[in-house]
Amino acid sequence: MTSLLETYAAITGNDVIDHLRQLAKPLANMKVVHVNSTRVGGGVAEILEKLVPLTNELGIDAKWEIISGEADFYECTKSMHNALQGNRENISPELLQSYEQTNIANAEKLRPVLEDADFVFIHDPQPAALINHCPNRHGKWIWRCHIDASHPYRPVWKYLQNIVSHYDASIFSLPAFAQPLQHPQYIIPPSIDPLSDKNIDLPPEEASQVYRDFALDPDRHLIVQVSRYDRFKDPVGVIRAYRLAKRFVPDLQLVLAGGSATDDPEGEIVVREVREAAGSDPDIHVLLLPPDAHRTINALQRAADIVLQKSTKEGFGLTVTEAMWKSKPVIGGDTGGIRLQVVNYHTGFLVHTPEGAALRIRYLLHQQQMRAQIGERAKNYVRENFLLTRHLREHLTLLVGLHYESRYRIKLS
């Protein structure tokens, strides 16, 4: 049977896989545990779904655990998420109590595996407090922050900082997101999995089915934004941009596609706002998709002439990476990790307003050849920088770095 690593070698080349094997050698049989709060929905779960089995194939004993909680817990962690992104969220003592109790309850369940691990990756704020309830831990604990925490709301960050300061290292997606902490702060951008249902090449019939499923006209221009219904993704701003562009491109269609992950209680409110903004325009399609609609999202991104990600705050923006992998030019908000991916005139355009987005929509729809060139460059850029294998290589480099505790150069024998 073909191993997962061999399958990736077909896309990335054998050298990339050889690197992984070499880096993994000193970590052989070590125990690595990842912990997050959802197995489906959201970028973190998508990364772990393949990162963990790939790590196992390299001879490292990797596990993926999830924590669970009640509505109060998710309300609290959603507020933490928003506060890390800069919202002034005052979290009540009752909600913080629920956060702490949920971490205590989950620690009861996970303590043996966490205390026994050589390395523990804790993803985002939800399970961060587990560290306080694993007093006999012997491994290194790493807090992985996937959120744009460049300008956090200070009272909430102060609360989290007290917890995170107990970790041995943290990881942020971009240098701008790092916060003053006493331990090393590694910079690792996330990645996409080219073999996942969301990114794999689709048979033509399946790709075209999406037009029929959502009453889209394949002969007319289509712009698409795929993301959770979250105000930071500015879906209402996308509708404004569409309306401004449609004055000049009357055949334009817009799809806003998203669902709400199980840990996001705010989504329903935002969907109502978006539907209200869309009104009765038959060319605006507001889609609520289930968390496992990966192939549908894949087909929608492939059907698009242009993909938008007009976020006003963004951790990294994996939907941008996904669109670029499908050779689509991206119009993205000038924020967070979108800046690392979208380079003006090379892989897409960065914008600040609905007006700016509308202008670039018109430009790209008018310049068909430029659109194709940008799309091609975007795909190559992702192949070299944002696939899962690069992400895994950096995780292994970090683990080796923590294991040897060296300053600049570590030579493996």
């Binding site: 050298d15 050889d18 690197h19 942020f172 701008a176 590694y186 892989t347 850029y381 950096e394 480099t397």
Partner: protein, 221 residues
């Protein structure tokens, strides 16, 4: 590797680490540069070759890029971009060259020092993990055949990192060839003439391949 009759290829993986030091104005950049670790200065000149970023960069060091795009000072950006890090004998000298140019600009135009950038400059450093590439060279004549097979990170290790690692400040290939005797001195001179600063790693690999092919099979390039 060098010092032996054979050459062992290594490869490496680099990871970026935030130092926690940030600058919002040119004065802050200057103040941080006085004390920041040499690892960080090295990272902002050379680390970009191995971290995820768009290959066709406008500026080849991060300081020039930040001054141009965040501080919006094209004059200083051009001067900083013209710094050739390979011309400095060590990183302390490179730090001083940076400081001299920034001080000069602060003297020229007082407002520049207090202009707030629209994004902070984040000082990073890096950690390099080096491992065996499972390739070995028995004789110099095989360089032309082996170089195209190397990963870009292996090129980084032998052609860029070596300059910091070796006392002679040269690349690993030159060091090895010199150890073998005077026979390949002309090749060492030609290697020294390759400017790694304005090329991507894949371009450097292509240049090295062409040089070795010409040298070993066709005489003078």
């Amino acid at each position: 590797m060098a010092g032996n009759t054979h050459f062992l290829f290594n490869d490496c993986a680099l990871i970026s680490i935030a130092t926690g030091q940030k600058a919002m104005t040119l004065t802050e950049l200057r103040n941080n540069l006085i004390h920041i670790s040499l690892d960080s200065i090295y990272h902002h000149f050379w680390g970009g070759l191995l971290v995820p970023r768009f290959e066709e960069r406008e500026f080849n060091n991060d300081f020039a890029g930040w001054v141009r795009h965040s501080l919006r000072d094209p004059v200083l950006a051009e001067r900083l971009a013209a710094i050739d890090p390979t011309a400095s004998s060590n990183l302390e000298e490179l730090r001083q060259e940076l400081l001299d140019l920034i001080e000069e600009r602060l003297d020229e135009n007082e407002t520049v020092g207090w202009t707030r950038g629209n994004r902070q400059f984040e000082f990073l450093r890096s950690q390099l993990v080096v491992f065996d590439a499972n390739r070995r060279l028995e004789k110099p004549e095989d360089l032309a055949e082996q170089i195209p097979l190397l990963s870009t990170s292996s090129i980084f290790y032998h052609f860029i990192d070596a300059r910091r690692r070796l006392d002679q400040g040269c690349d690993d290939f030159s060091h090895w060839l010199a150890d073998l005797g005077d026979e390949h001195l002309r090749l060492c001179e030609q290697l020294a003439a390759i400017d790694p600063y304005f090329s991507s790693l894949s371009q450097i690999r292509t240049e090295l391949t062409a040089l070795f092919k010409t040298y070993f099979t066709g005489g003078s390039p």
